[in-house]
């Protein structure tokens, strides 16, 4: 039966998750050089459009339709949102449409996260085309595995992923890795400083992301109940601890606490708590956040060592943070928080850690290899990268015939 409180909560949460994509656009946009700010913004903003349309037409059905084949993909019953109505589905207290649109926001932001890895060199049209195909062949199946009816990871393997540690963060990072392999580094990578052009934009974006993440994680309870409150609290505490941890780490390691460190730290914590949000208590959340801040800071140092060009650190933050969070979910999960979840290592069930690792590895493999194939096809046909000339002049002028700022 429909519950108005739950419905209010999920609808507002959907709106908050929607706001994360513009938030992410600004977060990323502030970090690129001024000549590429609009390209960064448009890649994200356009996904709000195109990924939503594809989701309504086909993605939702593939992800959340009745299982079509061995827990791997949904059927086509909900194509064009057929049968997705105002009534709750069985066992739910919110309109089916509310659930669908909440999930749509996840299908938007996941590819949006990827754009950071290819910043300042990706060709707009080709990248958008890639994401359309990718939603159908990579994202929707992966979502089905974890959250879909009879999905093999969620229902059979019994791995836990409350709000998208694997589906959103690990998948976006492994996709990013594949595209980085295909597209290669920016001209001047590691030779020349490419400092952020406007950190206030980035901070604004981080603030909106943190805000929206409450919808992302607490909203994943799909009800306004004690579990939602718990997910809300652990989300906040993990973000807080990670902010402190990252800033403290760089302060000790490099001598200065930075604003970009604070903004990056909170995202690291939010990423890591995502899979765990509905399964762990507040003190484990502080530990998860702390470890995420440290681990992702380490991930970024590692990138600088290894030299690949993950421009805005999708792997370092979403890959490392997501993996850490998924595994720590296996460590800290307890049915005392969520009777529908499972107990983890510290509650006497080491098996859950194993299931979590399988889920992580499967997602990495699928995301990386699948994107490698799709990416190569797109790259070899229309090309995923702009010409060196255009890259040097900047994508705003060359790809979009605009300038971010005109102060003269």
């Amino acid at each position: 039966m429909l519950d108005t409180g739950d419905t209010a909560f999920v609808l507002v949460s959907s709106a908050m998750v929607m706001l994360m994509t513009p938030g992410l656009a600004l977060f990323y946009g502030g970090m690129v050089r001024a000549k590429n700010v609009l390209s960064m913004l448009l890649q994200n903003f356009f996904l709000l459009g195109v990924a939503s349309v594809v989701w309504a037409l086909v993605g939702y059905s593939l992800a959340f339709g009745t299982d079509a084949f061995g827990g791997l993909i949904g059927n086509l019953d909900h194509i064009g949102l057929t049968g997705v109505g105002q009534e709750p589905t069985e066992g739910s207290t919110i309109p089916h449409l509310a659930f669908m649109i909440f999930q749509a926001m996840f299908a938007i932001i996941t590819p949006a996260l990827v754009t950071g890895a290819l910043a300042e060199r990706a060709k707009f049209g080709a990248l958008m085309l890639f994401f359309v195909i990718w939603q159908i062949f990579i994202y929707s199946p992966a979502a089905h595995w974890v959250w879909g009816p009879d999905g093999w990871i969620g229902s059979k393997l019994g791995a836990l992923d409350f709000a998208g540690g694997t589906v959103v963060h690990i998948l976006s990072a492994s996709t990013a890795a594949a595209l980085i392999v295909i597209v290669g580094p920016r001209i001047g990578n590691q030779e020349q400083a490419m400092p952020p052009h406007s950190l206030p934009l980035t901070v604004l974006g981080a603030g909106l992301l943190w805000f929206g993440w409450f919808g992302f994680n607490a909203g994943s309870a799909l009800a306004a109940n004690g579990l939602a409150a718990s997910a809300f609290v652990v989300t906040h505490l993990a973000a807080a601890a990670a902010t402190v941890a990252w800033v403290a780490a760089e302060w000790l390691h490099q001598g200065r606490p930075t604003m970009l460190g604070g903004a990056s730290g909170c995202i690291a914590g939010l990423v890591a708590i995502t899979p765990a949000a509905g399964f762990v208590g507040p003190m484990p959340a502080l530990i998860i956040g702390l470890l995420a801040g440290l681990a992702c800071y380490g991930g970024i140092l590692l990138k600088n060592k290894l030299g690949y060009d993950d421009s805005l650190d999708v792997i370092g933050i979403h890959g490392i943070g997501g993996t850490l969070g998924a595994i720590l979910t296996g460590v800290f999960a307890t049915t005392a928080v969520n009777p529908d979840g499972a107990d983890g290592l510290f509650s006497g069930n080491p098996g859950l850690v194993g299931a979590q690792i399988v889920a992580v590895l499967a997602t990495i493999a699928f995301g990386f290899l699948g994107s490698l194939v799709l990416g190569f096809i797109v790259h070899k046909t229309i090309g995923l990268r702009v010409s060196p000339d255009h890259e040097i002049i900047g994508l705003d002028k060359t790809e979009h015939a605009e300038s971010g700022y005109d102060m003269l």
Binding site: A193, P195, Q254, G261, I300, L301
Partner: protein
């Protein structure tokens, strides 16, 4: 007509107000100011960006340009030095160079009177 000179002073941004006041006291009211970046002996700043360090060698400076009668040049130079000097590396330079003519756009006047 070679009796006007361009005095171009590159100074630290926080000294701009002092320089302007000093010039005003020396009777000079017209000037033009440009934001520039400079490098020289002064050490740059090391900035950080997600774990990578880079040095900003081009430091913010301000260029003050005054075109004045040759007769005023030494007074102007002295006023600028007085106002802008801290004694630390990075105080900046003054360059003097010839101006062959000056025109006031408003009136079309030429020569030193146009200043």
């Amino acid at each position: 007509m070679k009796d006007v000179t361009r005095v171009e002073a590159i100074v630290r941004p926080p000294k701009l107000d002092d320089v302007r006041n000093a010039l005003n006291e020396a009777g000079i009211h017209g000037m033009s100011v440009t934001e520039i970046r400079g490098c020289g002996r002064q050490k740059g700043f090391t900035e950080r960006y997600r774990g990578s360090e880079y040095t900003i060698n081009l430091l913010h400076k301000v260029k003050v340009e005054v075109v004045v009668d040759d007769a005023q040049v030494e007074a102007v130079v002295a006023a600028i030095i007085d106002a802008a000097q801290t004694g630390e590396v990075g105080d900046g330079k003054i360059f003097l160079s010839p101006v062959s003519d000056t025109i006031r756009i408003r009136t079309g006047e030429r020569g030193p009177d146009a200043l």
